[in-house]
Symmetry: C2
Subunit: 338 residues, 2 copies
């Protein structure tokens, strides 16, 4: 593979490299016919601009970064798979590259990663999710004037383009539905307290209970790992209570998968003796047994929207609306009753 540079095109056409460069970049101060000659030659010779050189000169990378909040071998949340594909599908449309890494388990390692990427100018901007109430990343990127967008916003008082799902309203509606189905002791299997979605969805749970005139029982709110294994464990534990719950509202589908499994192992008829529900609407939720009631959000589309917003910011063009509000769709399936 002989790499063809702008200089070769110039020699080939007896032009200066400057002229070629301008023709390629579509500047107006070049004759129509010269431009065409250059374009044809470039096409024919298979010219593709060298990223590194362009980056060095323009002082930007045309790449965006996404750091997966994970790093454990078993990790497999369908959510991230769909999210990643959304990112991957959208980035090329803006002529951006997508750089990926995993954050590992420690916050310190996560910080190092972000700092390294920022300082070495690996990417022009970031996509964030799993936002925390007070999020170091938000503050750090803001301080350093690095563009970023996020799923959910943090409470650091910093404005940035984000997608906001109505977590609270969604879960409240879910709770009411489950209540209407005749379930009376609803538990909430959540995650780490500092996650934005945890707080928002838990608030929806409490709000829903209040609407239904049900008492809030702190024993019925547990903290799980964000995995099916975690959901399994906590769901079992809940059923061991002297006065166990008859419905399990899970922070996400992954946890709900584990909860379904646990309830089945305990010999319970799901949908009748116990209800289970998730959040996200990952495609696998349609294929559990029984199919999982969940709050469906368009993950793929959210990822695309985020990339679009970030691309606008990178181009210094105004993002129409800083916050895109989304209402999750309540997908009623058999896991919460026929």
């Amino acid at each position: 593979m002989k790499k063809v540079t702008i200089r070769q095109i110039a020699e080939h056409l007896n032009l200066s490299i400057a002229a070629v460069s301008r023709a390629l970049d579509g500047y107006s101060d070049i004759s129509i016919e010269t431009r065409q000659r250059v374009l044809d030659a470039a096409q024919e010779m298979g010219y593709v601009p060298n990223r590194a050189a362009r980056q060095l000169r323009r002082q930007k990378t045309d790449a965006i970064g996404y750091i997966l909040p994970a790093g454990t071998p078993g990790f497999s949340e369908a959510f991230f798979s769909e999210f990643l594909v959304g990112l991957g599908d959208e980035t090329p449309r803006h002529r951006l590259d997508l750089l990926i890494s995993t954050a590992g388990s420690s916050l310190e390692r996560e910080k190092e990663l972000y700092r390294d990427w920022v300082r070495s100018q690996k990417v022009d901007g970031f996509i964030l999710n799993r936002i925390r109430l007070s999020d170091w990343r938000v503050r750090y990127l803001h301080e350093n004037q690095i563009p970023f967008v996020g799923m959910e916003n943090s409470l650091d008082g910093i404005e940035y383009p984000h997608v906001e799902v109505d977590n609270t309203g969604g879960v409240a509606a879910l709770v009411e539905h489950i209540h209407r189905q005749g379930f009376r002791r609803l538990a909430f299997i959540g995650g780490p307290q500092d996650l934005k979605i945890q707080v928002a969805r838990l608030a929806g749970y409490r709000q829903g209970l209040a609407h239904c005139g049900l008492d809030f029982d702190p024993d019925l709110v547990v903290e799980s790992e964000l995995s099916a294994a975690g959901g399994y464990q906590e769901a079992r534990r809940l059923r061991w209570l002297s006065n166990p719950p008859d419905a399990l509202i899970c922070l996400n589908d992954e946890i709900a998968f584990g909860a379904l499994h646990a309830m089945h192992d305990l010999g319970l008829v799901i949908g009748r003796e116990v209800a289970v529900a998730g959040f996200d609407g990952v495609s696998a939720s349609a294929h559990t047994r029984p199919p999982l009631t969940t709050l469906d959000i368009p993950i793929h589309q959210i990822a695309q929207t985020l990339v679009q917003a970030l691309a606008l910011r990178l181009a210094n063009r105004p993002v129409q609306q800083n916050c895109l509000a989304l209402t999750p769709r309540l997908l009623l399936r058999a896991s919460t009753g026929a």
Copy 2:
């Protein structure tokens, strides 16, 4: 964020930038104490080398690419999620970056992507999977002398480091197990004919049938999309046959998830009236109902191994063994009988 360059360190210490550069890179022709001064200053000033400049100078990117064989919104195979995390966990250990994109649906678009990445020198090497019997990517990268590694090898007569799972032996053993459980009409729900895994696993199916003295019936081999939805559809269709199968061997877990769902919808008791099995051992397979019998492969570790091999090739160091053979582990669970 003021970006600190090698030059600033030089000025700060009254040294030439060359001296600083050498100290940083650990060359020997520099006095111990100067090196230390440089290292300290770099640390203190928060110096991180600029990627673009380094790339341009060294003519390599220190990045590897992985192009997801997907692009449909619903796409979510757990396999890729685990695979990606494996890649993401391993790349930083070799000081490599990971560049991701999605291939879209058309082969033409896939070709464009690879060509673009190669010509613009976005990455130094590639990770491939979903290898096809005769694979354009393998030939193209080989011709252009771009390092790559793959999961499975193609039949293009080109050597490259790869992980080779014993697909055939694995499925054959699975078939024998299912036969021992008393099932007699085994179907195979596969995928596109040109996929290496399809051919190898189908061969295992036939080999297993032969071992068990069962006849091969072409009606029982169907081609599905590689998704739960595809599995659902084909599984249903198979049961509509006048002489339907009582066991469904699926190309992967994703298809099996759909098959489980279909069998349940048809009111069959899975594990007794009909057996279902998958391949890959994604973590979700433990949480289906009933839990899915599958051939487990260490996806995360395979991804890591591939990155290691590629890193060695990029460093021009010999890869010990060009082919790492793996035997899948037969995970016997309830979907093929108690």
